[in-house]
């Protein structure tokens, strides 16, 4: 009675469910931006971050949370439906990629709509561009934003693949971090769970170093670790390595995990 394509089915199901959750995430962001637009009407020459920028920052928290929930929700659900932990793992791993794609696509569509509305209505809005926001949270966002924003100029010179790649890698990394923390709590309880959070902080700092975010970075601060300005190739490879490393740990944790009743 072996069924085919179980991991793909699992991936599709998890993507549908968690993409459904992202509707709430997007609605909150849209609401947030509408409020900013309204307030900018009263201040001439208002500056706000565009939707892609906001999604970029917000997606990390969103992916982290749905990663944590995934560990607690989907593993018991699928084992209860007669799916092996391995098939579930492969399915959920694929789902991370698909959900990241959904976030990216929706974010870009809304950003496009946003720019169109602003242009059509001649609103006196300046979108905050690279370097305008200096806190470390937005450095990576601005890096990508600068690329994406240029798409509204010369469409032929836009490195789309790069902007899409960075968004996807960041979203996947934070989902994997959430999944790892959730799986650690699920498998081994509170103490190991908090241990996984501590380890995750180190991994996130390492990830940020690949993308030049050194401000407030614990590895940069305490170990004086600084990759300088790594080449894009190194940044991508390093980030992919971290994600793969997380997948290996998650698989190790969940490989023979007992499902709670």
């Amino acid at each position: 009675m072996k069924q085919n394509n179980i991991p793909l089915k699992v991936a599709f199901d998890i993507t549908s469910v968690q993409s459904g959750w992202s509707i709430i995430f997007f609605l909150i962001l849209i609401f947030n931006n509408i409020i900013k637009y309204i307030s900018s009407l009263f201040h001439e020459g208002g500056e706000i971050g565009n939707f892609f920028n906001i999604t970029f920052s917000g997606s990390t928290v969103f992916m982290l949370i749905i990663g944590i929930i995934a560990a607690y929700t989907f593993l018991p659900l699928y084992v209860n439906h007669g799916i092996t932990r391995k098939d579930y793992f492969v399915g959920n791993t694929l789902a991370i990629f698909f959900i990241s794609l959904v976030l990216l696509a929706v974010s870009l569509i809304i950003t496009g709509v946003e720019y169109t509305i602003v242009n059509l209505t001649n609103m006196d809005i300046t979108f905050i561009n690279e370097g305008a926001i200096e806190n470390e949270e937005n450095i990576i966002a601005n890096f990508v934003l600068s690329i994406v924003l240029s798409s509204f100029g010369d469409m032929n010179n836009v490195p789309w693949l790069l902007s899409i790649g960075v968004f996807l890698i960041r979203a996947m990394f934070f989902y994997a971090i959430g999944w790892f923390i959730g799986a650690s709590f699920y498998r081994a309880g509170v103490i190991a769970g908090f241990g996984s959070i501590a380890f995750s902080i180190i991994l996130v700092s390492l990830f940020d170093l690949f993308w030049e975010a050194t401000e407030g970075n614990i590895l940069a601060q305490y170990l004086s670790l600084d990759f300088g300005t790594p080449s894009l190739f190194i940044s991508f490879i390093g980030s992919c390595f971290l994600i793969a490393f997380l997948f290996v740990i998650i698989r190790t944790i969940t490989k023979r995990v007992s499902v709670r009743l």
Partner: protein, 290 residues
């Protein structure tokens, strides 16, 4: 056809506590098996091993000769229906059954709809708002309509009222006639379910007390009633489950098969020999172990 289950010296420890001790039995063929045990005896844990929710600490568990844990074909053939916490379940019945349909290849949608109708379950309400009885009925729908070769109901009747429980029992029997499979029903409410069982397993304090077919088990127990001295003399050397006395009249439950000559002897002595129910056997056998 998946119809062989083997436990060989299976033990399980959780946090250094013995939960199951050296359990061995063999289930052979599509029958209805009753797993009896008091609360906390280890029934659910034992069944969770079959469903690959966890692995035994020692011993071997085989289904059709293969280890079920992480075995895709076998895990897909086992459905473990237990009282699940659905307080956060915002999904409605059709959404939940869609998932069953996607992952259980033998799922019968028509039969599921028939059962939903029979149990009078609402299709347009979120499952989290269901009463305990409705949740139990939903679980039964998932277990029966999924038609997995090994279907396990762990105290599935909880929260159901008597008429609903009756529907469940009838459907189990009807299903077994039409689509034979291994049904394992765990319960501590023995009296109203005993007619369902082909074979009985009794578990107590994590150990298997017995595994026998229903007829042999109930024929083994007998109650002997008569004058005190005659009864005492007659039951000497036999395994006594329970004694009751009123004046000079004594009634003793024994767990020993009586031979034809013993029955004749009892009749000649003026003793009355009665049968005892599975419920009585269960109560006294598990009490004896304490």
């Amino acid at each position: 056809m998946m119809n062989q289950i083997d436990f060989q010296n299976v033990s399980l420890k959780i946090n250094k506590t013995d939960i199951l001790n050296d359990i061995s039995f063999h289930l052979d063929g599509p029958k209805i098996y009753g797993l009896l045990g008091k609360n906390g005896a280890g029934k659910t844990t034992l069944l969770s091993l079959l469903a690959s929710f966890r692995e035994p600490t020692s011993g071997a568990l085989r289904i059709n000769g293969e280890e079920p844990f992480e075995n895709a074909a076998i895990m897909n053939s086992v459905a473990f229906i237990y009282e699940k916490d659905r307080k956060e379940e915002t999904e409605k019945i059709p959404g939940l059954l869609e998932l069953v349909e996607r992952y259980r290849p033998n799922y019968d949608k028509e039969y599921a709809n028939y059962l939903i109708d029979k149990f009078n379950l609402p299709l347009n309400k979120a499952v989290k708002s269901f009463s305990k009885g409705m949740l139990s009925a939903l679980n039964v729908v998932i277990g029966l309509a999924g038609r997995t070769p090994i279907t396990i109901f762990d105290e599935a009747y909880q929260g159901m009222d008597a008429p609903t429980r009756e529907i469940f029992y009838k459907e189990v029997l009807a299903e077994q006639a039409k689509h034979p499979r291994i049904f394992i029903l765990s319960t501590h409410l023995v009296s109203e379910m005993d007619y369902l069982f082909d074979e009985i397993l009794i578990i107590n304090n994590g150990s298997l007390l017995l595994h026998e077919d229903y007829e042999s088990l109930v024929s083994r127990g007998a109650s002997i009633t008569g004058s005190q001295s005659t009864v005492d003399h007659f039951v000497r050397g036999k395994s006594i489950l329970n004694e009751q006395q009123l004046g000079n009249t004594k009634s003793v439950m024994i767990y020993d098969e009586l031979s034809e000559s013993e029955r004749n002897e009892a009749m000649a002595l003026g003793l009355e020999i009665g049968t005892i129910s599975l419920q009585d056997l269960f109560i006294h056998l598990t009490r004896e172990e304490r």
